[in-house]
């Protein structure tokens, strides 16, 4: 495919709509073509900007409780139905219905399992987009006693930073970042010439990510995630998983 042909497919790439083969072919092309690579990065940034702006409104708490009340009421009404004789005669149908519900729940969980790596993929996006931005690091310091207090009042939680003396890792700094409207900390570490992002967010159900490590084959980023003291940690880097694991261990020691 020529460069011009690819130009019409860039948005599809950014929307993750290319087939695996197409994606591979495109990445090979983009490695050779700075024009396509720059355009793709710009399109991805534009998409992120729209996402940030578009995720704007949260449902008011009253609406949530009103809906819950409605649902509970419907549920209670329906529970009384078994008192009606016709249902008593139909245990098999009821069991079939229950089995269907179980199947649906199972399928739903299965589907959500498949979906989870995507949210890890979003962290890879965040890593790239933040580093590509004009201010990749908001607090530039290798001193953990500077970086940690900087986050006071900027993120709604606190965390500990390890002493990196004697380890191959260095602290570069940090910045505030957002994921699904939640403010969080992004710490930037260095390892030789590699850059590692450590994202820290309050652990919310949306962040319940099951695989603890993940290689995004489409972007070849490695990710590791765990929870600790009610916080969700996500490490993203282009380094190998083993070295990334060492940093994870250091962070977990706190």
């Amino acid at each position: 495919m020529s460069c011009q042909d690819w130009q019409t497919r860039l948005e599809a790439y950014v929307d993750a709509e290319l087939s695996p083969q197409e994606r591979e072919a495109f990445l090979a092309h983009a490695a050779q073509c700075p024009e396509c690579a720059t355009a793709t990065l710009a399109l991805a940034e534009a998409k992120r900007a729209i996402r940030r702006t578009g995720r704007r409104y949260l449902a008011p708490a009253e609406l949530r409780s009103r809906l819950l009340t409605d649902l509970r009421q419907t549920g209670a009404n329906k529970t009384s139905e078994p008192h009606q004789p016709r249902l008593v005669h139909w245990p098999r149908q009821a069991m079939a219905a229950a089995a269907l519900v179980l199947l649906a729940v199972g399928l739903f969980f299965l589907a959500s399992q498949y979906r989870r790596p995507n949210s890890l993929g979003e962290f890879a996006d965040l890593h790239v987009a933040n580093l590509a931005g004009a201010n990749p690091v908001e607090v530039v310091s290798s001193d953990r006693h500077t970086v940690k207090p900087w986050f006071q009042g900027r993120v709604p939680f606190t965390f500990d930073l390890p002493d990196l003396q004697g380890s191959p890792f260095t602290l570069t700094g940090g910045r505030v970042t957002y994921f699904h409207q939640e403010p969080g900390a992004q710490l930037i570490f260095g390892y030789q010439r590699h850059i590692i992002s450590a994202f820290i967010f309050r652990d919310t159900p949306q962040l319940a990510i099951t695989p603890t490590s993940f290689s995004d084959r489409s972007t070849s980023f490695n990710l590791q995630t765990w929870t600790q003291n009610g916080l969700r940690y996500v490490l993203v880097s282009d380094m190998n998983a083993t070295t990334l694991g060492q940093l994870a261990e250091l962070l977990q020691k706190n």
């Binding site: 996402r51 409104y57 529970t79 739903f108």
Partner: protein, 185 residues
Amino acid sequence: MKAASDRVREFENLALPLLDPLYNFARWLTYDTAEAEDLVQETFAKALRGFDAFTPGTDFRAWMFRILRNTFLTSRTGLQAKLTVPLDPEDEVSATVTWETPEVLALASATREALQDALAALPAAYREVVLLCDVEEMKYAEIAEVLQVPIGTVMSRLARGRKLLREALGGERHFVARKEANKRR
């Protein structure tokens, strides 16, 4: 036997995590807090009533968004919005992309307020597609299911909507960059 109330709980487990996204979408459609709340509430009520018609294992999110959108389209604001939406002459034409990198960058670096205004100013037919794709991160096929249109239409509306956004934001501030780009051609 509690199958029926289990069914409600099952619905609750599926639907409640979608509350924020649905409400957000409703706000972007209606621009009104009270109306968005009503819309979401009606959507939940309709969806629960029709939950038996939902095929387990298929896309529940697309199903919910479809109900919300259809409910919106039959509301007063929705009917008005429908009237102001231009027909899609380019729906049949495949999405030909006519973007310039500086224009795209202008969008990416626009202030939140500017982008918000530009999104709000988009005709509803384009705004909804852009929101579903970029904000809800739905696949084209999923969006097609929400809107009940062919995938090709989703793609052309998306391309057109994004183009309109870029045009709205590529204003004077980036005039120089665009002029340079034009010179290069």
